[in-house]
């Protein structure tokens, strides 16, 4: 039984631990879950992730309750199949999918997984990020995964739907030092249950700041809306990698401000030379570790990445190191 301290990282630490436990068969006991938060312990969206993980690998779970600060998770055998999970409080579907996806790649049979809840949540990767940035890299490592955003869902109403089809296959190491030449910049503005002009105003700013062609600007409306919401997505496609940036409309924040902020993030990325942004870097560690090796470059080593690396090393016989090279950081995963 691996002992983990939940205070070292928030919900992400728990989700990574679940993924690693499922893939390695290693049981763990985590304490001080989300300690120091205003509402410490397991929240409903975390419980859904625990439930989903437990269902997929027939795990023995002890202590899963709202507000619980300790949890024991003993995984069993991973079983492929058709799964459906609904996440309350418009919780993120993408985070739950990321939790179980690597495990389903190790299953004996193909799987489909239907998720309901939020698809575009602040503090979580939007569905397009998984589809256009994360999954293509997994596919390059040999994974056969398809993702369909059936219907966007926003906080607080949720009501979004996501479907993934997963064919199990072993992962190969990946080397991603260069992003390659820029092949395109695109923008997508989602509006749901609010004036579509919000999306138009955002795209107008994007066009002005990043100099996009009208053909690369896309505005879509959720019909019928399951609740109010707005997300602006910017895609920076390079030969070797696609990065996705996202801004969220909120009450009291103008559409222009949302767009300006998102464009700023894109420009930061374009100015640098690192292959992947902070978010993608964090998420690549786990598949690379499961594949047994790999390399990528990123602009910063975040706290998230560090704590995630330390956790992975506890479950898997790998070493994760980073060093500065040519104005960015190179991260190496080795057996």
């Amino acid at each position: 039984m691996l002992e983990l301290d939940g205070a070292a990282g928030g919900g992400q630490l728990l989700r990574s631990a679940l993924t690693l436990a499922m893939c390695t068969g290693q049981a763990f006991h985590i304490r001080r879950i989300r300690s120091g938060r205003s509402k410490p312990g397991l929240m409903r969206q975390h419980l859904t992730a625990v439930d989903a993980a437990a269902a997929i690998c027939s795990a023995d779970v002890d202590g899963a309750a709202p507000g619980a600060t300790a949890l024991r998770f003993t995984p069993g055998t991973i079983r492929g199949g058709d799964y459906a999970f609904a996440i309350g409080t418009a919780g993120s579907t993408t985070l739950v999918l990321q939790t179980v996806l690597p495990a389903l790649l190790c299953a004996n049979t193909p799987s489909t997984i239907d998720l309901q809840g939020g698809t575009h949540n602040p503090l979580a990767p939007p569905a397009e990020f998984l589809r256009d940035a994360y999954l293509p890299l997994l596919q390059r490592m040999g994974a056969d995964v398809e993702l369909e955003l059936q219907r966007p869902g926003f906080y607080p109403a949720g009501g979004g739907a996501l479907r993934a089809s997963i064919h199990p296959c072993p992962l190969q190491p990946l080397t991603l030092r260069e992003r390659g030449a820029l092949s395109g910049l695109q923008a997508l503005a989602w509006t749901s249950g609010i004036a579509p002009s919000v999306g138009e105003r955002e795209l107008a700013i994007v066009q002005r700041r990043l100099g996009l062609d009208a053909a690369d600007l896309q505005r879509r409306t959720v019909q019928p809306p399951s609740g109010p919401g707005n997300a602006l997505l910017l895609f920076a496609r390079h030969e070797a990698v696609c990065e996705v940036f996202c801004g969220f409309g909120a009450r009291g924040v103008s559409a222009e401000a949302v767009a300006e902020r998102t464009c700023e993030a894109v420009r930061d990325y374009l100015c640098g030379s690192a292959a992947v942004g902070a978010c993608l870097a964090d998420q690549l560690l786990l598949p690379l570790a499961l594949a047994g090796g790999g390399t990528f470059t990123t602009a910063r080593i975040t706290d998230h990445l560090q704590s995630n690396a330390r956790l992975i090393e506890k479950f898997l016989p790998v070493e994760i190191d980073w060093h500065e090279s040519d104005g960015c950081w190179q991260v190496d995963v080795r057996r």
Partner: protein, 532 residues
């Protein structure tokens, strides 16, 4: 893990929002499904479907979207007027009766934020009476604009679960007990335990109380305090009516207690309410209840049991809802055996019986009572009086010694303090004042109405030199025998008193002879002991 089940109304105001913008408004029922740290496994929602079918459908759908963990059960509830207490209570009572609650596996919450205020009151009452075996759930709107879930708080009506409230009660209880003791910090453990019980009984029970104890033990004062505590707590609203039954003698007794009709007897020139009716909704304190005549006892029993009785000369019963406190210094159990007291009345009175010990049995309480009596003197005379330290020690040493009998208990102590305070020079009670008072008390306790004390016998005068041969063992017995002889008119009377118990069982008696022989053992005769 237990399942959380919420019971509540779909609010026709706050919950009734339609269109996409409903998600930006706080809807209490939907918001219950939006709390990150609170899972509702089932919601039992009450709504009048004739008026609210569309709303109910939307609320159920929205809950399914934000809270897939929640099973929603709709209950079509028709309430003619949701502002009418009776119909609301009836509808909710019926609802509760239909539910098969399973508190072993489910935690219930009555959501009181939606519905009319009358609904809120009814949910509260049903929760408090445990018809709805759960807790109250109060939700409140969000403070920040970004948030739509707002806040929730769970209110357990078991107030002992709240530390600070429990502390308050504890404090109130202490105050009540202190109140019953007239603020005297008594130290006698048995007495304090009794006061705790009296406090509980006084607050919770309207049943009669019986205070037993010697004269001056504080029965009357305690009865008044119990009344005042009851009045503070709203369990009585009428007056405190107090009577010593020893003062009720003869024909007047009935009419004093139960009243009479005008012209009921010679001299009954006007109607009289009587003490029982004066104590309606209040407290009637009958001191020395053992002195009550047989007829009065019978009538009183009926008045306690039925709260009805017949005034003298009246053929119509009257009502009085009084709470009874009875006081006695006699052993009523023995009175019953001798036929002096009705056993059925005693059974009624004997539910809450408290025995107030005399002052001699509570020597550790003499000091706090001494301070109390001093304060009382100061309050009534507006004069400040203090003991000199040495004087106080000397007085307490005597007061707490076996020498001090305190036959009149607190009355004696009060009178003693009052005398010393009155005679004190410049508000100081000095050693000589205390010495004089101690001598005075000894004299008082020796005097006519109190039995003579063995300690008062001057053995030297009686026996001369032979006193040296007298064992302590014999001294006590002889002292008492001599004291009795001196109180008696002749040898036979003294004999009867001294051998009263064994007289009962013997066929032939010669008590005078037994006494004469006893005295002779010490070389004494009747005239020797009585003439000195």
């Amino acid at each position: 893990m237990k399942k959380n089940v919420v019971i509540g109304f779909i609010g026709t105001q706050l919950d009734a929002r339609f269109g996409a913008e409903r998600w930006e408004r706080w809807r209490p029922t939907v918001a219950l499904g939006m709390h990150e740290d609170f899972v509702v496994h089932r919601m039992e929602l009450l709504i009048d479907m004739r008026r609210g079918a569309r709303l109910a459908k939307q609320i159920a759908a929205d809950l399914a979207q934000v809270s897939p963990e929640t099973e929603v059960c709709l209950h079509d509830t028709y309430i003619a007027n949701p502002w009418d207490f009776e119909s609301m209570y009836g509808a909710l009572h019926d609802f509760c009766a239909r539910q098969s609650f399973d508190p072993e596996h489910e935690d219930y919450y009555a959501h009181i934020t939606t519905g009319t205020h009358v609904a809120q009151i009814c949910l509260f009452l049903l929760t408090e009476s445990r018809h709805l075996p759960g807790r109250l759930l109060q939700t409140s709107p969000p403070r920040a604009r970004q948030d739509v879930a707002g806040a929730y708080s769970i209110i357990d009506l078991d107030l002992s679960k709240y530390d600070r409230i429990a502390q308050r009660f504890e404090q109130q209880q202490q105050e009540d007990r202190s109140f019953l003791k007239s603020g005297i910090a008594t130290r006698n453990a048995a007495f304090n335990t009794m006061i705790e019980q009296i406090e509980t009984v006084a607050i919770r029970s309207p049943a009669p109380m019986l205070l037993m104890g010697p004269t001056g033990a504080g029965k009357s004062q305690l009865a008044r305090r119990v009344y005042e505590l009851k009045r503070q707590r709203g369990t009585v609203s009428g007056a405190f009516v107090e009577i010593n039954c020893a003062t009720l003698r003869g024909d007047g007794a009935m009419s004093a207690l139960f009243g009479h009709r005008k012209g009921a007897f010679t001299g009954a020139v006007s109607e009289r309410a009587g003490l029982l009716r004066s104590a309606d909704r209040g407290v009637l304190f009958l001191d020395e209840i053992g002195e009550l005549g047989a007829d009065e006892q019978a009538m009183l029993l009926r008045a306690i049991e039925d709260k009805r009785f017949l005034p003298v000369g009246s053929d119509r019963e009257v009502c009085s809802d009084f709470q009874l406190i009875a006081g006695t210094n006699r052993d009523l159990g023995r009175e019953i055996a001798s036929g002096g007291f009705r056993d059925d009345l005693y059974a009624r009175l004997n539910l809450w019986t408290f025995e107030l010990p005399g002052l001699a049995a509570r020597r550790e309480d003499i000091e706090p009572n001494l301070d109390y009596e001093l304060e009382r003197y100061e309050r009534s005379t507006h004069q400040r009086v203090r003991f000199n330290v040495e004087a106080r020690e000397r007085y307490l040493r005597f007061a707490m010694s076996a020498d001090a009998q305190w036959p009149g208990n607190f009355r004696d102590l009060g009178a003693s303090v009052s005398r010393m305070a009155t005679l004190a020079v410049a508000g100081r009670i000095q050693v000589d004042g205390v010495d004089a008072e101690i001598a005075r008390l000894r004299r008082l306790w020796r005097s006519a109405d109190a039995p003579a004390m063995a300690a008062d016998v001057d053995f030297e005068a009686l026996l001369g030199e032979r006193v040296a041969e007298l064992d302590r063992f014999d001294r006590a017995q002889l002292g008492d025998v001599v004291a009795v002889c001196r109180r008696s008119r002749n040898l036979s009377e003294a004999g009867r008193t001294l051998f009263a118990a064994s007289r009962q069982t013997r066929r032939s008696t010669n008590d005078s002879d037994r006494l004469r022989k006893y005295l002779a053992r010490f070389g004494l005769s009747w005239s020797d002991v009585t003439v000195s």
